[in-house]
Symmetry: C2
Amino acid sequence: MQPALLSVSVRTRRTPFTNRVTAAGVKAYTVYNHMLLPTVFESVEADYHHLKRHVQVWDVSCERQVEIKGPDAFRLAQVLTPRDLSRMKDDQCYYIPMVDESGGMLNDPVALCIDDQRYWVSVADSDVLLWAKGIAAGLRLEVDVDEPDVSPLAVQGPKAEDLMARVFDDSVRDIGFFRYRKLAFEGKEMVVARSGYSKQGGFEIYVDGSEYGEPLWDALFAAGEDLAVRPGCPNVIERIESGLLSYGSDMTRDNTPHECGLARFCDTRAAIGCIGRDALLRMLHDGPSRQVRGVRMQGEPVAPCTQPWPVYADDQRVGQVTSAAWSPDLQINVAIGMIDASHWDTGTIVEVDTPAGLRLADVTALPHSSK
Amino acid sequence: MQPALLSVSVRTRRTPFTNRVTAAGVKAYTVYNHMLLPTVFESVEADYHHLKRHVQVWDVSCERQVEIKGPDAFRLAQVLTPRDLSRMKDDQCYYIPMVDESGGMLNDPVALCIDDQRYWVSVADSDVLLWAKGIAAGLRLEVDVDEPDVSPLAVQGPKAEDLMARVFDDSVRDIGFFRYRKLAFEGKEMVVARSGYSKQGGFEIYVDGSEYGEPLWDALFAAGEDLAVRPGCPNVIERIESGLLSYGSDMTRDNTPHECGLARFCDTRAAIGCIGRDALLRMLHDGPSRQVRGVRMQGEPVAPCTQPWPVYADDQRVGQVTSAAWSPDLQINVAIGMIDASHWDTGTIVEVDTPAGLRLADVTALPHSSK
């Protein structure tokens, strides 16, 4: 596809950071949860190199929160996922697959228990708000489900911890992976989690109140000048290398968590009452017949994958690739795909039908490694 | 905001017509229901003039269908809207406000009764699929809720009827406004409705099966050469002139149908069991305190409205503008806004706080007229 402009309207919502992102010269966006998500600043490749060496501040406000509040908050949260939430600690971030009645993925959010009777679900690109509200209405649960004015700001990269320690305090260094603390910025307590959509290390600040957006952005840039801090965004090359799936691309409602390699986040037998349980019990019994894998394609750098690319072996379709990019560090085209059981073993040779023709490829584990 | 590119991925889904739209030189898109929606071909203004004089073919696949099927189909459909569906005729297209438990707008789709026990709901930009599935799961209704492979293609403009008669047959001329017939294309029966997101007249073909997309597109262009047919898309100038609201821009979950001027589509007292009924009964009793209005702004052409512009009178905020464009035909800036009862009378003088400064404006009825 040729490059096309994005038409911005009120419907493609701005974020508390859009003024800063625009001033920083953002070059491209996508729309995610009806909101602007930056995708390119300098270039995808330059952004990638910088992310792996320094520290970036990402406007990921589009990771909207669905707040579930009230006496039945735990019950609704557990209805929404096959992961057993009873074992979730107060300071934990829980990656929770969310499925429909047939076990098809609806979202892969991160849940936080904010306090007694209050959860935040930080969602990928689908209206979990409507899903949760619909179930609550149908079951007549005693909960309030809403989207609060909370906008995650990610600080990612190897120097993220140093930058965060300057703007908050050294206690950020003690936050474990997928754990959070409530830390103050300008007197306002905010959730600060060690998490983020890269494997370069870092944090997500759940900016609680749009009015704190620009002051926090500015504080991070003022404190990080000697760390080469700059604006960034989820980087398609880095996330494919790291094996981070994108809901809507690498997994959809067609796929079970087992197909997506997320079975370890399902405690289906324990999660009594969760929607999709019957279907997932069957999946637990049978196992998936296809699963997410890495794919490495030979040849010149490929163009971005804008529609599934069929994967063939022995003239049979054995899967599809849904994300692909040239990896400067690995010097090969890295991809994420859904591969049939017959061909999902590491080292299996396949062909990928790209817009530039068939590419010889091999199936591999995720994350992509340098070997 | 400066122009920025749209990053396309598998998640921002292509349509059955994307190849044709791309070949036709589309200049910009938005993302709507996780799908590409073209927004500009030649230029917004050139597209506008052509639409009002000739005929255009629009890829509005992003008007996804939510199919509700099964013994409880009617019951679920009625739970989803305060409009009384018991009076809906078999060949009717019903504009149905959809609200949450507090009466806040979730979507403003068009519902069709396809056959006994089967509805299609043609949705604006929110995941009604998840809302309907959630309610069905909570209420344990005997329905199947899914997104079928159906992609609306609109044929809009004063010459639309002539073009449609050539590709289908003269019976399209007998289809009443917001009525439909099932007509065959290449042997496949499809819903053809007299509807569409413009006031220039025209049809929407519910293309039933992606494989019919390009053949139908090509047939329309082959048949319409002497009618000056060309690709188009919902046009922001024309839709503001015509007073067509955009969900997510001009109305959101903050607004009741009454605020959106949609009270005539609510039969709240009759719609027993619909979600939000209690809140809407209160609204029926009290009436709205603000409502959608036209706003006409003096001065030079304004830039597109990418965030709500406050509306002031006597130094008080009395509303906001959410869509705005220069109208070449009316030679004034036309807008859609939500205006407080104190200032919603036609002719009221207000000021709109645009990025280019305060603009003198007057409140008017919708659609915008040439007077």
